[in-house]
Structure formats: C-alpha cells, structure tokens
Amino acid sequence: MDPVLEVRDLRVEYRGDGRTVVGADNVSFEIGAGEIFGLAGESGCGKSTIANAVMRLLKPPAEITAGSIRFQGRDVLALDARELRAFRWREIAMVFQSAMNSLNPVLTIGEQIVDIFTTHEKMKKRAARERAGELLQLVGIDPARLKAYPHQLSGGMRQRVVIAMAVALRPRLLIMDEPTTALDVVVQQEIMAQIRDLQRELGFSILFITHDMSLMVELSDRMGVMYGGRIVELADAKDLFAEPLHPYSEALMNAFPPLTGPRQELTGLFDAPRTADSCGFHVRCPEDRSDCSTNIPDLREVAPGRWVARSLEGAPR
C-alpha cells in the first residue's frame, strides 16, 4: 500500500543576501495510513520547516531546493496553484502552534469554519453553518459559540476550534506543529485526549511535531529525531524510548529527567553549533563512538525499521 506521505531527500534552503542557511538537509521519512509519526528536536532544528514544506507554505527566502514529497503517490511539488489550493486542507490539514495567532481576529469562528466549506465544497452558507455546528460538537464545544470571536474564547477552546477546522474535510493527514506548547499542562492533557479520540474515530495519519519527548512517546507509533536540519534517528517510538542509539536522542530524552529514581547528572544539550565540518557532538561523544565522523552522516539501518545517523565502524567518512 502506498504510504500516505513519502518525503525523500528533502532539502530546504534559506537564501539571504549573500549567504545561504540550510534549514533541512537530506530529510527522508514515510508515514503510513492511520499512523502517528512524531518529529522531535529542539527549536531551530528544522521540524517546522519540514511541516511547512510538506504543505508548500514556505515563504521566501525559504525554498525547497532538492528532494521530493509524494502524497499517496502524487507529486506535491508539481502541483500548480489551482491544484494546490484544492489539495490543501482536503488532503492535508495543519494545526498551527498558536491558535490565537492562526485565527483571524475580526471574523467569528463560525465565519472562519464556513469559509472552508464554501471554498472547498461549494456549499451554501446555511448548510455550511450547520456543518460548522456539528464540527464544534465533535470537539466538545457548544455550537452557540459559532458567533464568538477568537479573543472571546479560552486558550483550550481556541485550540479545539483549530483542530475542528483541521478535520473539517476529513483529510488523510494532519500535521500538528506543537499543538499544546502554548497551553498549560491540564489543558494539554485534554487536547491530547481529544486528538487521540478524533484519530481513532476518523482514522487519519498524524505528523506530530514537538520538542516534548514525553508527549511524543505517549502518542506516536514511530518517531524521528532531528538535529541541525537532519534526521539523526528514526525508529518505533517504544524502541527509541527504551534505547536511544544516537547521542543527541539520548540527550533530548534526558532533558526531561524522571521524577523518581537515582540522581543523574544532566548532560543538557550543547551550545556548540553545527558548522560545515562539525556536528557539534564529537566533543561530547563517549569514547567508544569516537569513530564517528565530525559531521552528521546519513541514516543507516542498523536493525529492521531502525535508522541511525552513524558512520561505519572504523571507516573515515
């Protein structure tokens, strides 16, 4: 069966005056039907860049300079403007990080949901409003709030509205870019539960992006860890959590120390940035990994379904 999303060797560059910064380099991963795929990493590692790239929402100076994105076999990068507009939201939808910022402050949320239906399904306003009401009920909000403006809703409600908007057209893939980062922990749990319920009911795949490893492990089937614009480890969530093979994955995991158990010294994440010939880790890598090259190598499958960015033992890069 065709994977729902297939990203191969994707490269995104930010072109400035005279210098170019690579936001994502040689990124490849797949998401199957109904699968929840998590992408973890610290701020600036390129996860949001990938998310925006998949929906072709990158704005200049960002550009996709290499690689391919295929959605159920279709070449996303080859779609023209009209096809792209039809494709968006119907096939892939996105939940942005801050719901307050992603909602138009001068329109009611009802109007903003109705926009989706009138654009994609050419519905009449009245029918669209009814569907909008049903959508709100799906996420546990009273349909009377259709007349509310975004600033009149609480943070949790706003996020649920945005999620409801995302599933309006029953897309095959939902991209969630740090959907709970802006919320407090209690609301976070509600939202996560909501997402799980919806996923079970509607069966869409999710590309889940976060820096919170614990959250990700709870939800995801498979995970990828990103660092410096590259994927450094790719595996089943349970396997990765039990035994991270790349030093960065380990460091990321340990950034959330357990509440119980013996005291450990925090390794923290590193300040040394990645440059053209150093991945920034070689200084901190333990002795037995000193065979690693000084830059992030390509992913190698070390076990079925387990990929790590690691060079061959003893061989120079």
Partner: protein, 313 residues
C-alpha cells in the same frame, strides 16, 4: 541556530559572537547601511546640493535680490537664467537667496520640534503613570487641533517676523513626533537592560539619554526628517498666505509675491515654478532618506527582487 551556515568563504571555526543589543557597533551599522542604500544616497546628495547653494548664494548672486534691477516679466534668457518677476527682480537670485531662509527655518523647526518631542517622549516613557498621563493628554489635545487653521490664527495674532514663524511652527509640529517617540521609548523602557540600569542606581537623566535614546536612533532620525519637511512646507504655506515675514526672501514669499502680482494669470510661469520645485525637491530628498531608513530598520519593507526559483536537480 543549529543549521549549517554555508558561506562562499571559509567557514568560521569559532561560533559567531552573539550580537549586542546596543552600543556603537549597531549605530555604525545603520550609518553604513544608509550610505549603501541608493535611495538614501541620492536623497543625501540632493540635500547637500541645496545646502551648498544656500550657503553660497551671496557669492553666486551678489547683492540684494529683492531690489528691482530690470524690466518686469522677462522670460528666461541669457541675462536672467530664470527670467524676471513682474516687478523686475531676477528669479534665479530670488530662488538662491530663498534657499537660505527656507532651509534655515526648516531645519530649525525640525530640530526644535524633534527636541521637544524627544523630551516629552522620554519623560513620558521613563516616569510613567501620572507624568505619562498628563503628557499624553497634552500631546493628544495638540494633535486634535487642526494644524493649518491653528497656524493661521497664531500667526495672525502674533507680531510678524521669522521668529514668530519658527515659534508657531514648533508649537503646531511637535505633537505628532512626540506620540511616535513616546511609543518607541515605552517599548524600550520595558526591556531588561533598562530595568537593570534602574536597579543598579543609574541616574534618571543618564538612563533616558544614554540607555533609551541611543536605541531609538532610527525612529528619531525618521521623526527629525519628517519635522524638517513639515517645517519647510508649512513655512512656505504660511508665507504664501501672507502671514510670514514678507520682507524676507524665501521660497514661500517668492510664491506669495508671484501669486499677488498675478504671475499665473499673465502666463509668467517661470516666476512661480522654481521656488515650488525647490521645496518639492528638498522635501522629496528628505522623504527618500526617510524611506531608506524605514527599509533598513524593517527588512520586510525592502524591495523584493524576483529571483528565478531553481527547482530540484
């Protein structure tokens, strides 16, 4: 940022130093960027040309330009490059000498209005609460009163003369800038380094002028340029209405006499075109520099160069 930095040159072995929030490095950057911008450069050159002409007027057109020395209403010719007025004065001389008064008043008003606006803005931002409320109220009232009618009334009642002109222009002109500067000063006041300065016991005056003000450099510049434009054009307007000092030679009074002596109706266009053109050019030059400063400080406004998108290989 952990992304790879690809420059066309050798990559740095040491990580780059974190940019400083303030300090001379940043200010030098603005000046250098300005000189690099085509808009700013052309604007500054134009201004320099006018300043030069104004300074050299006594040398280029010796004598008193308002003296009648020729027959009236002559078209531009070899003897009089820009022709003569209906009264028989040399238009070129009038224009050159006019630059002195106009530019002088313009820049004086600009500096004075900006100065007051800075004081009001900084005081408002630094002292906050009551002082801020009072000053804001004061500023808003001045902003609401319509400019030109206020100008006319003030000039009508006060004794005519250049100092009156400067005074009334400053009175009507400071409020708009004060509002902008206050907003900017307030946002800087909220930053941590100012709080740190307060906590370490720096004196208020020092904080206002050595901590907050330098970080507002670009906004202050924009305000100054705007005030100068205001000064020059409003002075011209006042004089055109006959409310300035009509014995002084300036671009505004040139236009006043042109209108009064019926230059329009008799078709002697060379009498009123030069002075107006000069005002426009100076205002335009200032606006260009302003535009350039805007673009530099807000990168989003920079002109977008359409580059062909290279697709994947």
């Amino acid at each position: 940022m952990t992304a790879v930095d690809i420059a066309g040159k050798t990559p740095a072995a040491t990580p780059p130093a974190a940019p400083t929030a303030q300090g001379p490095g940043r200010r030098r950057g603005l000046a250098r960027q300005l000189l690099g911008s085509k808009k700013a450069l052309s604007g500054l050159c134009l201004l320099a040309v006018f300043a030069l002409l104004a300074l050299l007027a006594p040398a280029l057109a010796p004598g008193d330009p308002s003296l009648i020395n020729s027959t009236g209403s002559q078209a531009p010719s070899g003897a009089h490059w820009l022709g003569t007025t209906t009264k028989g004065q040399d238009v070129l001389a009038l224009t050159l000498w006019g630059a002195r008064s106009s530019m002088f008043v313009g820049f004086t008003v600009g500096l004075a209005a900006t100065g007051i606006a800075i004081l009001v803005g900084l005081a408002s931002a630094y002292f906050g609460r009551l002082v801020d409320d009072a000053l804001t109220l004061f500023t808003n009232v001045f902003l609401l009163l319509p400019g030109l009618p206020l100008l006319v009334i003030l000039a009508a009642f006060l004794p005519p003369g250049t100092s009156t002109v400067v005074l009334v222009l400053v009175i009507t002109g400071w409020a708009g800038s004060a509002r902008v500067l206050r907003a900017q000063a307030r946002s800087i006041r909220g930053k941590d380094f100012v709080a740190a300065a307060v906590v370490t016991g720096e004196r208020p005056l020092r904080i206002m002028f050595r901590e907050i003000l330098p970080n507002m450099a670009s906004v202050v510049m924009t305000t100054l340029l705007g005030c100068v434009v205001f000064g020059i054009t409003s002075q011209a307007a006042l004089e055109f209405l006959g409310l300035g000092d009509s014995s002084v030679v300036s671009w505004g009074t040139n236009l006043y006499w042109a209108s009064n002596d019926g230059a329009l109706m008799t078709g002697t266009w060379w009498v009123f075109v030069p002075s107006g053109l000069c005002i426009a050019l100076v205002a335009f030059a200032l606006a260009l520099v302003n535009y350039a400063v805007d673009e530099i400080t807000n990168p989003r406004l920079r002109s977008v160069k359409r580059r062909p998108v290279k697709r994947r290989g």
